[in-house]
Amino acid sequence: MGAEFVMLSLVPILIGVLAAIACALPGNFLVLRRQALIGDAISHVVLPGIVVGFLLSGTVNSWAMMAGAAGAAVVAVLLIELIRRLGRIEPGAAMGVAFTAMFAFGVLLLEQSDTSSVHLDVQHALYGNLESLIWVEARGWESLFDPVALAGLPPELTRIAIVALLMLVFTVVFWRPLKIATFDEGFARVLGMRTNLIGLGLVIMAAIAAVAAFDAVGSIIVIAMFICPPAAARLMTNRLEAQVLWSVAFAVFSAVMGYVLAGYGPLWLGADDAVSAAGMIATVAGLVLALAAFYAPHRQSSGASRAT
């Protein structure tokens, strides 16, 4: 665990962990509200937004691209609502129409524009580039206290840290309305809560988490982290407080374990190169969910008869 680890692995692991937490926190409510696939939809539609942001600003200025991504997420939500309400189409199909079409548009834009000179391509969008987010200035653990070295930290780390903190604050501050609106929307309305506002807020928070995580780690982790840790946590407990804590624990475990397996696993097996960290993190998250589905104490719905 020397200088090399700090330079090559510390920052990607931290980013992975923070991205996982940022997605898992809102993911808990999305899974409970049966909106789990919103994460999937959002992570697809940010692609055209990022490309448009790049084309308009002309640089790989991340803020422009993030603004584009956020704009695309809003357009997608509006488009889904439009198709659902005006076309009277069920939500799943409406979502499918909107996000696939927007993704196709994004791919077309990418192919049309000359973005090959910069690091902007579909593979990157899907897999992310966690491995490349190294901390070049680091000389060892002591660099953590060196302001000059700290200034050289990849900006993705700062961004995802801010977003993870934002998710934490959002979850804590709106805990009660979120909890009540998720479990009993009617009751929440009786209490005078603006339930549709809460729902919209949740989707917006999910979009922010997705965009920030997408920027750093690609869309696979985003979808996996929105769903797998909360779903596994759901099978562990009946209490929402415990579920959220479990989901964070699972998210952190998946991120660390996935990164280590991707980065060092092949070396242990005698291969030279690492495999995709994003893919491995998603795989580990899936294994965690599989274990939970087999052994977790509350894996079956309570009170349901299992005659078959």
């Binding site: 899974v31 049966r34 909106q35 789990a36 696939l37 994460g39 999937d40 198709i83 005006l86 076309g87 009277r88 189409i89 069920e90 799943g92 199909a93 979502m95 499918g96 129409v97 696939t100 079409a101 993704f103 196709a104 791919v107 077309l108 192919e111 049309q112 579909v122 593979q123 899907l126 696979i220 979808i223 996996a224 929105f226 769903i227 797998c228 779903a231 759901r234 099978l235 991707a262 092949p266 291969a271 030279d272 190169d273 495999v275 995709s276 994003a278 893919g279 491995m280 993190i281 998603a282 795989t283 998250a285 899936g286 969910l289 589905a293 509350h298 894996r299 079956q300 719905s301 309570s302």
Partner: protein, 401 residues
């Protein structure tokens, strides 16, 4: 150039691709219709993403056996195996745990896809076979398509179309009313299985043409577009097939005209264009027709209210109502009613009074409860009934005559 492409004059290979894409589109539109009607459109998302590890594994197996690893039929077989495994995982999660179907879909698609990406990076590092072009399966690429590939896709697409046609009846029944289907002796689980198998087959055929991320679009968009045109399931099925076929054909043709127009996205965007046109202009459920219907109703109500105001000698302040009256020749721009206007107003008023009486008569209760404030009473009641109403009107001596 586009015309040549659309009329199949852009070379043998481009023609084959266009026909293959059209057949794929027909099969996808038709198979997707059942998914859509069964409210499971997004299951296709899980199926398509879980083909990726299969492609990787098949490549590894074929390459380690000494080939170049890119044999399309072999890759398709691998894709089918893991897509089936993904489908089983999804079913198992929904049936055996308390997770909802959407969580199961999301979990399967992200984990299988993630594992597929891991396999792709493994393939890049172990340097066996010729992995170039393997990532084409993500978004589809027809450029590198060999003659044999095109034939394979066309034949498989045709078979899928036939299969949809053969199974359309039981699948329609199950999609609309699984309980009724079971009662008539249909094995719902087997039909569901067949439906999923069909979707899986279409997905795998589509990998090379539109890629695994976008095949979902071809399964979802044509049925949703077709739904605007008809309420009858067999017609929705047919129209979805036509829309899918058109998207595949036109999309492939457009993309053949220029190298920077990737086939998959163009096909999807063609399908989306058909969807947008359907949503706007379809008769019945389309937005334009709905808007016109709304406007007409609005006009009728305003006109009626205007006439009733004239009958009671009330001034009309509302601009829209006044405009309508003027345009119909019932009033002058300053609000003074014309001869025709007075006559029509009297009729509207008499109609209104008759309705008021009818509302008090028990024999007409059922009819009157459906009164919408616009229909003339002559359309609803018989002459005798109206005479009776007029007699009562004269007795009380109220209303207009």
């Amino acid at each position: 150039m586009l015309l040549e492409a659309l009329t199949l004059q852009l070379g043998y290979n481009a023609t084959l691709v266009a026909i293959g894409a059209a057949l794929l589109g027909i099969a996808a539109g038709a198979a997707g219709t059942f998914l859509f009607l069964r409210k499971r459109a997004l299951v296709s998302d899980a199926i398509s993403h879980s083909t990726l590890p299969g492609v990787g594994l098949a490549f590894l197996v074929m390459a380690s056996l000494g080939g170049d690893g890119r044999h399309l039929a072999g890759l398709m077989l691998g894709a089918a195996l893991t897509a089936g495994a993904g489908l089983l995982c999804m079913h198992w999660l929904t049936r055996r745990t308390r997770l909802a179907e959407d969580a199961a879909i999301g979990a399967v698609l992200s984990v299988f896809f993630g594992f597929g990406v891991v396999l792709l990076t493994v393939i890049q590092t172990v340097s066996i076979g010729r992995p170039a072009g393997l990532t084409d399966f993500l978004l589809g690429a027809t450029a590198g398509m060999l003659f044999g590939d095109a034939v394979l896709i066309a034949v498989a697409g045709a078979l899928a179309v036939l299969a949809v046609w053969a199974m359309r009846r039981p699948m329609t029944l199950v999609a609309f009313d699984a309980g009724f289907a079971a009662a008539t002796g249909i094995d719902v689980r087997r039909v569901d299985l067949a439906m999923m198998g069909l979707v899986m087959a279409v997905t795998i055929i589509g990998l090379k043409v539109v890629g695994l991320v976008l095949i979902v679009a071809l399964l979802i968009i044509p049925p949703v577009a077709a739904r605007f045109w008809s309420d009858r399931s067999d017609r929705v099925l047919g129209i979805a097939g036509v829309f899918g076929g058109l998207s595949g054909f036109i999309g492939a043709a457009i993309s053949a005209t220029a190298p920077a127009l990737p086939t998959g996205p163009i096909i999807v965007l063609t399908a989306f264009t058909l969807f947008a046109l359907s949503m706007l202009f379809a008769p019945g459920r389309g937005l334009l027709v709905g808007w016109l219907r709304h406007r007409r109703q609005q006009r009728r109500i305003h006109l009626r209210q205007g006439l009733l105001a004239i009958a009671q000698d009330l001034p009309i302040y509302e601009r829209y109502t006044l405009n309508l009256l003027v345009r119909a020749g019932l009033a002058r721009p300053d609000g003074v009613p014309t001869e025709l206007g007075r006559w029509r107003a009297a009729r509207a008023c008499r109609d209104e009074s008759r309705w008021a009486v009818a509302r008090r008569m028990h024999s007409h209760e059922a009819i009157v409860s459906r009164y919408d404030g616009l229909r003339p009473i002559e359309v609803v009641l018989t002459e005798d009934e109206i005479r009776e109403i007029d007699r009562q009107l004269a007795e009380v001596g109220e209303g207009c005559t």
